[in-house]
Amino acid sequence: MALLKAGGRWASSVCDTEVIVVKGPEDEVSLTCGGVDMVEAGSDPLSGELDDSGDGTQLGKRYVDEEDTIEVLCTKPGAGALGSGGNALQLKDAKPLPASD
């Protein structure tokens, strides 16, 4: 379980994926990548086996949970897919703003 603070960085234990939290709930939740809990970037990875059945992560894409309480941005891509509480996070539809600068 992890407290996902906006701006916090999390790394996969089993692949190259890294994310930064855009939005997180007040309570601790689970955040997994490739089926294994993610760890705070810079700390030792947990042991586990990569479940590569998902699509993995894509650089620069945002991922959200169904309730829209968690949003993370992928800063490094990897083979494992993101999840929380046993459910896969989904790719967020981008609604681009017109370029203003």
Partner: protein, 507 residues
């Protein structure tokens, strides 16, 4: 959070794209990354507290900006057009520093022992492939990323502090990673010491859009660059757009127009409505975006998008049409509230002070008390209102409001009317001290060449369009109005010029 995270993502996602310059000779994203790493080493070894830039835009700008973030030092772009005295007094405030410059800038610096020079071209290594760089930037979002001196139209310049978390939040909240096509190019003609110049450098890089720089604005060169570099988007301040429009109009019916230009955003001051209407007409295939933001808010907080421009332009509903002169709606990550003088929230359509809140809002000046309220609101000192649809209208700086006979009069509304008169090219309304009224309204007006307009005619023109207490007491005809080089009207200069028109009373 650190801006370097954004550059690292860009280098990982599209490192071979040209980031700045021409397609055949520009620097790629990867080259910017590598050179920023080398610059960071150099900045650290210099044992300084700030990384200054006393130079116009060049490919060294992104290298210097990111290199400073990599080294954990504030990047401080300075206005290279300042007088030597002004420049040295700012350098003193950020000393000791390392400063990006050109060779002939060195003789301008009085305290050379506190300013380590680094030449523009020295930041671009010709061969750096063998050098190991450790990606060891600090991810603490509290680090100061940029110090920007305000233009100082009132008093001593203040240094606005933009921390890593402000700028990273702005980019993540307003730009989608790699959302630009490989053929896209943005033309930047605002200088590096203007927040829009910094924001454009960051957001285009994160979007994967090549940047073409025009260091010193000139309408003809700007148009040539759009054509020769197949520029697809650009940002301009109002004075730039009016010169571009004039230049395009002067090309006559055979003008080839600007067919590659898909998007043109404007901001940084009030845009005269006739200018934007002509622009919409002569650039029918270009999408227009009006952006409103301040240095203290890490650039844009509200924008009027292309569809909203078209809707407003073609609507028969008066309240919708009016929105062409609004700055649109706040970004999804930004809240806007209109407050009275006591800080109470006002209902829609009522004018007051614009307050904003969001992760990108800094409201902080170096050495001064934080201007944010406890719950994170920043009073902008800009006046304005929100209409019932949530569209934001900006009337101008609250300090510029004319108080005549106890009535608050916004110069903006008088100026807007005057600018619609066919012989008027520029106008500014100023309050001049007056014993009877506190202040009286003096309208300074620039006329089209070879045109004359009687003072009475312009007065009655304003009277036809606005309440009678808005009618100027006097009209003064000038050859031009004073602007700073980024298109900001210098009202203080005008006020000093007009002080003789008052009756000697002070307010």
């Amino acid at each position: 959070m650190n801006l370097m995270m954004l550059l690292e993502m860009a280098a990982g996602g599209f490192g071979d794209r040209v980031a700045v310059g021409s397609l055949n000779s520009g620097l790629t994203v990867k080259q910017i990354f590598d050179n920023a790493g080398l610059a960071a080493q150099r900045f650290r070894n210099a044992n300084v507290e700030n990384v200054a830039m006393i130079d116009m835009a060049s490919p060294s700008l992104p290298i210097c900006l990111f290199g400073a973030s990599w080294a954990g030092l504030p990047f401080v772009p300075l206005n290279y057009r300042l007088t030597n005295q002004e420049l040295n007094s700012l350098l003193e405030r950020i000393s000791p520093s390392i400063a990006l410059m050109q060779p002939d800038t060195q003789e301008r610096i009085s305290n050379a022992s506190k300013v380590h020079p680094v030449m523009r071209d020295d930041l671009i290594a010709s061969n750096h492939t063998e050098i190991e760089i450790s990606t060891d930037w600090n991810m603490d979002g509290e680090d100061t990323a940029i110090l920007l001196f305000t233009s100082g139209t009132t008093g001593e310049p203040k240094a606005a502090v933009l921390r890593q978390r402000h700028l990273v939040s702005y980019i993540l909240g307003s730009v989608d990673f790699m959302s630009a096509g490989e053929e896209e190019a943005a033309l930047i003609s605002v200088p590096p010491y203007h927040i829009a110049g910094i924001a454009a450098t960051l957001s285009n890089l994160y979007a994967g859009r090549r940047v073409v720089q025009l260091p010193e604005f000139d309408a003809k060169k700007w148009i040539e660059l759009v054509r020769s570099e197949s520029v697809t988007s650009a940002m301009v301040v109002p004075t730039m757009l009016s010169r571009i429009v004039d230049q395009l109009v002067s090309e006559g019916p055979d003008s080839q127009g600007l067919p590659t230009l898909r998007a043109l955003s404007y901001g940084g001051g009030k845009m005269p409505q006739p200018t934007i209407e002509t622009a919409l007409e002569i650039l029918p295939d270009t999408n227009f975006v009006n952006a409103y933001g301040l240095t203290e808010t890490s650039s844009t907080v509200s924008l009027l998008g292309p569809e909203e421009h078209r809707d407003a332009f073609s609507s028969s509903d008066n309240s919708v049409r009016k929105r062409i002169s609004s700055v649109g709606r706040p970004l999804p990550t930004i809240e806007v509230s209109i407050r009275d003088e006591e800080g109470n929230e006002l209902p829609s359509d009522e004018p007051g002070e614009i307050w904003v809140r969001g992760e990108q809002v800094s409201g902080e000046y170096k050495g001064l008390q934080l201007t944010l309220t406890e719950d994170g609101w920043f009073p902008t000192h800009d006046g304005g209102w929100l209409d019932s649809g949530g569209y934001l209208f900006v009337t101008g700086r609250i300090d510029d409001v004319i108080v005549k006979g106890g009535q608050n009069i916004s110069p903006g509304e008088i100026e807007e009317v005057l600018l619609q008169h066919p012989v008027v090219t520029d106008a500014a309304a100023i309050g001049v001290p007056d014993q009877q009224w506190g202040e009286k309204i003096v309208a300074t007006v620039v006329l089209h060449q070879e045109h004359e307009a009687a003072e009475e005619e312009l007065k009655s023109y304003v009277k036809e369009h606005l309440r009678s207490n808005r009618t100027p007491d006097e009209i003064v005809f000038l050859d031009e109005l004073p602007y700073n080089e980024t298109g900001k009207l210098l009202r203080r200069v005008l006020k000093e010029k007009l002080v003789d028109l008052g009756d000697g009373s002070t307010i």
